[in-house]
Amino acid sequence: MSATTSGTSGIAIPLSARSRVTLTVASVLGLMMLCWPLLVRVGDGVSRIDPPFLFLLLLPVVIAVVVAEMSEGGMDARVLAILGVLSAVNALLRLVSAGTAGVELVFFLLILSGRVFGAGFGFVLGVTSLFASALLTAGVGPWLPFQMLCAAWVGLGAGLLPRRVTGRAEIAMLAAYGVVAAYLFGALMNLSGWPFLLGVAVPGAEGDLSFDPTAGALHNLRTFAAYTLITSTGSFDTGRAITTAIAVVVLGPAVLTTLRRASRRAVVVQTAS
């Protein structure tokens, strides 16, 4: 039971060189849309900056295009079924754990699945999990595209971790990754909501925690760091990081074995062409 042989698990959604490049460009694009307050440079005589609401429409298109490009070669029916089932389990975990002060269980299965089924599968699973859970709870909102993208990155990153690490070291690595991912996810989601929730600073107002387009990127980064430190790093993000790490350590070995068994049966590996 305890044999965690990672060599036998296949890559569910192989990434061609073209898909990799597309994914990179789209990730840069997504990061730009998340970090726009740090990139803004106003011209002379501009008195008013509004949050670019356009990004809320643009980001879903970008995500759709990337996912289409990744599944472009057609997807095996078994991979498809597992993707659907894991999305449902993730959505259920999110439903169960939502609302209890940062205790979020979504990441735990997402990270383990990304590890077993590969980076491409992790990315798509991040997108579908959040979308399915939003559809089920009717929680589609302006925040959804950003959540989908960040969750997709979490799954992608889990698939990119070194493959050779096995046994206890693997669990330790995944738990550490879970902590990092939880904090990064929190910070990025805060960044996407910051200018919307706090508004854009108006000339003349000082000592505020809101985004100031006339100040430089470094100043805004420090303001944002203070904002995220005060509002969520101590509470929600830490809760999420601890829950993820504990879940990976306690349930990780058993779930990894189950996932690998499923992957051996579901993923057909091409040996020679």
Binding site: L54, V67, E72, V79, G84, L198, A262
Partner: protein, 359 residues
């Protein structure tokens, strides 16, 4: 228009709501925003079905209220130093140096409160518009209208949505089986003993489902040639690169303007062309597809018109779109049209199908 009760195409409701949300995002005029919220409320109450998702509108309204309250509260907590007429003189609480010398509380001015209120109201209107689309459009039928290139992922989502009730069934079965048997009583062991059978059961079922799908022709690799796939890849990549340049130019206002909006539009169009091209390899038939009938087109036209009018207002009547916090906000004829035109959707759309006959 036909008065026979039927469900409108879900995409039509989404486009209508996006049109209204676009108009709302281009103004901070509280009167205009409240009009839009009112229109959305009327349309939702008259045109929603009695499905479970239709009841979610209330949740979005509360979320909108929370956005407004939060926004104003932030202004009070962090709003020191905003010039204007002081309405509430609170003591200042300086924080330690490592948080950039931020001071909490301090005198609250009427202008600070109003600015927070206007901006919060805009965010709330946006959230409520999306909530309207959520409660009006059937999510299962919406999944069926995904573009063909996303066919596989769409199928996975349909599987996810339908498999969930079975999951609870499987959980009950495992619980019942374990209650009859002795076993580990430690909390961690018990959780593991419970989780593994549930997951195994789910995977077994998903593989059975996959076998069924295989025999029905799902998951075929398609008939695209290497050239076609190269074209798709090139279109997608070129489009995304164009959008990167466009977004950068949009943010950096010192860059040439030609690189901003035109580049964004061209990039998006090229990327979408790639999406369409990728979808051409998928040849599927649909069982009872949702059709676009005059009522759908009319609802979409109403949404687009509201969005376009909102854009016009933002460009030509700046004082009305962004009223100063020192004066009473005013409404012009165009603004009135933006606020109330969305209501036409009630007239042109058919009544919803409600169980137990017409209301």
């Amino acid at each position: 228009m036909s008065a026979l009760p039927r469900d409108l195409h879900p995409v039509a409701w989404w486009l209508w709501a996006i049109g209204l949300a676009t108009a709302a995002s281009l103004t901070t005029n509280p009167l205009l925003l409240l009009m839009i919220v009112g229109v959305v409320g009327v349309v939702v109450t008259t045109r929603r079905t009695d499905h479970p998702w239709a009841r979610s509108f209330r949740f979005y309204v509360w979320l909108g209220v929370a956005a407004v309250v939060l926004r104003v509260l932030w202004r009070v907590v962090l709003g020191g130093g905003y010039p204007g007429e002081v309405v509430l003189d609170l003591p200042e609480v300086p924080l330690p140096d490592f948080v950039l010398g931020v001071t909490l509380l301090g005198p609250v001015t009427r202008e600070a409160l109003l600015a927070g209120l206007y901006d919060g109201l805009r965010l709330a209107t946006l959230v409520i518009c999306v909530g309207a689309a959520n409660s009006l459009a059937n999510p299962k039928r919406l999944l069926r209208s995904l573009p063909p290139a996303l066919y596989e992922v769409g199928t996975a989502l349909v599987v996810a949505v339908t498999v969930l009730p079975q999951l609870t069934q499987s959980i009950q079965r495992v619980r019942a089986a374990q209650a009859l048997r002795a076993g580990d009583t430690g909390r961690v062991r018990r959780l593991r003993r419970f989780l593994v059978p549930v997951l195994e059961d789910t995977f077994d079922r998903s593989l059975a489902l996959a076998a069924g799908m295989d025999t029905r022709g799902y998951g075929r690799a398609g008939t695209a040639t290497a050239t076609e796939r190269r074209t798709t890849g090139a279109l997608v990549l070129a489009g995304l690169c164009g959008v990167v340049v466009g977004v950068y130019a949009l943010l950096d206002q010192t860059a040439p303007r030609l690189l901003a909006a035109p580049m964004l539009v061209v990039g998006t169009l090229v990327a979408v062309a790639g999406l369409v091209n990728a979808g051409r390899r998928v040849q599927r038939t649909r069982y009872r597809p949702d059709r676009w009938r005059p009522a759908e087109l009319a609802v979409v036209a109403v949404g687009l018109m509201v969005g376009a009018l909102g854009w016009w207002l933002n460009h030509h009547e700046l004082a009305i779109a962004y009223p100063a916090v020192t004066a009473t906000p005013e409404v012009s004829l165009t603004a009135l049209a933006v606020g109330l035109l969305g209501l036409v959707a009630v007239v042109v759309s058919p009544p919803p199908r409600v169980q137990g006959g017409a209301r």
